[in-house]
Symmetry: C2
Subunit: 322 residues, 2 copies
């Protein structure tokens, strides 16, 4: 069980260490969406995504237990969050990343002092490599989402956003969060519902990688039907987490699946209207609004923009389509 | 005279209305610059630049005096700030803009309800057009920088940044601010020196548009030697302001002139490291650091990123050079 109290504890640990990311809005987007849309911009978090929150919350507790080395597997954002947190606690970080991660993610993880081990995600299992390394080198395994401390850390996104909405006198009608394994979604859902019990919570996923949407519909955890590369590398995890899925079942209204076309349009909109760089997987929530998948008229909608680690070619591709 | 008390008053007026923009930093930039560099990101301000602060501070007072229509001249960022503030006070806004402003600035000003009048900045005087319109239509003229309320509003950038630095327990050794007419620079200088009296304050300007640097050296206001178009459209004002120049003389250490090459590199760095979109004129401070014009080693440096209204082609150009 993860409770609001765990998230509040994580919030205290992260205070003054994680960036209090802004809640932004754009007059012209509000006009075109005929409602008020606020964006919680975790692309501006340290290491360029919300993942630093969970990683720091987890590692601060491992450090107290005397752990000096950790191993993690990640498509790239968890990797950077863990690498930075590890450096703050003088821990050795070994990170298992797929060979086809964006260069910016691999390079940044190394620059933060992480030892990167690349694997082929079409033929190898990152979980198996992680468990083997943990045993071999006596390292603590820091999972990307199926961990209470990780979920609680990511939940501080929802806690902070709730405070920011309250400061503006706003009550959100609906919240959309990008969904990979569900750590961010489930932590955020608990925090938002603590403050705004009537808010409708949605996840957004890329088309063909809608494992969470199909799992919610089926009432049980289902896998993705494809393992092809996706523009939204950050959130193409194979299936919802064991711990995260029941939380999502309890809190979510449902899910919205978006096309790459709408993802690119959302990236350009973030750069032009909000002045923030959001990676493909980070802006699926806005993509869903641009695609008209969730009515915003006369409503207050909060959208989490979860990360900003996009390679320059991908950003340029989105801009040139404008 | 503009004092810290004026800035504190403006801060109260703007509270909950202007975005409290974040102070961001990047581990890898800190590493490569061998010091701690913090960025006050006004690109994330409403309308995409700090200009909303001064405009709102000014118009809130004009509204109390019963003014219902205003006129302003601007290359584009003041235009948007004034147009949004005017719409909040139900004022008619007439904005005089050069024909070669970036499309994003002209379009946004219109979308915010401003009536845009275009002029040719190589053959016509915006001041003359502005004064004529003010008389003809009985409008209040809202100058872009030579106005105490505007300077006080822009100074809230420095006040907020000082609070944010203090919350982190930091004392800045040096601050770099982009400089056009000097409204942002002078307001920010007063606020920073109130909190950190020993900080060295610098302006950054584009090469060939270094009117402030040459004026500071000469001890009197000098004009730019060229009127050619510049990538840094936001800050190519012809000479320092009458009110702003003495403030800058009192507070500044000097100025740094940067090439377009370094400006494009700084734009790419902002997108890749900080995940923020900064327009050319907005990132001349970082450009100066990348060019090695001011040592950062073992120092705490604060850099103002003043605006983010860049057309997509310009952003793509910066990204493709990476």
């Amino acid at each position: 069980m993860v409770t609001y109290a765990h998230i509040a504890d994580a919030y205290q640990r992260l205070k003054g260490i994680a960036t209090r990311t802004p809640l932004l809005e754009s007059n012209s987007l509000n006009q075109s969406l005929e409602g008020r849309v606020l964006f919680k911009v975790e692309a501006l978090q340290r290491t360029g995504s919300f993942k630093f929150r969970g990683a720091y919350n987890k590692l601060s507790q491992l450090a107290q237990q005397g752990v000096t080395g950790i191993v993690a597997y990640s498509s790239g954002n968890h990797a950077q969050g863990v690498a930075l947190a590890a450096s703050m606690f003088n821990m050795q970080a070994t990170i298992i990343m797929p060979t086809d991660s964006p260069s910016i993610k691999i390079n940044n993880t190394r620059a933060l002092g992480g030892e990167v081990i690349l694997y082929d995600r079409y033929t190898q299992s990152r979980e198996d490599i992680g468990h083997a390394l943990a045993q071999e080198r006596n390292l603590a395994l820091v999972k990307p989402y199926d961990d209470r401390d990780i979920i609680a850390g990511q939940g501080t996104v929802g806690l902070e956003a709730s405070q920011q909405l309250q400061a503006l006198g706003l009550v959100p009608d609906q919240v959309i969060t990008p969904c990979g394994g569900g750590g961010l979604v489930s932590g955020t859902a608990i925090a938002i519902h603590e403050h705004f019990s009537a808010a409708h919570l949605w996840v957004a996923e890329p088309e063909h990688y809608d494992d969470t949407i199909r799992s919610l519909d089926a009432g049980k955890r289902l896998s993705n039907l494809t393992a092809q590369p996706s523009l939204c590398d950050a959130i193409v995890t194979p299936m919802p987490g064991e711990l995260t899925f029941p939380i999502m079942q309890e809190h979510l209204q449902g899910g919205l699946a978006v096309s790459e076309e709408h993802v690119l349009a959302a990236m350009a909109t973030c750069m032009q209207e909000l002045k923030v760089v959001v990676e493909p997987g980070g802006c699926v929530g806005l993509a869903a609004l641009l695609a008209g998948l969730l009515p915003t008229r006369d409503k207050t909608t909060m959208v989490v923009l979860s990360g900003g680690n996009a390679d320059p070619q991908v950003l340029a591709r989105a801009l040139i389509k404008v």
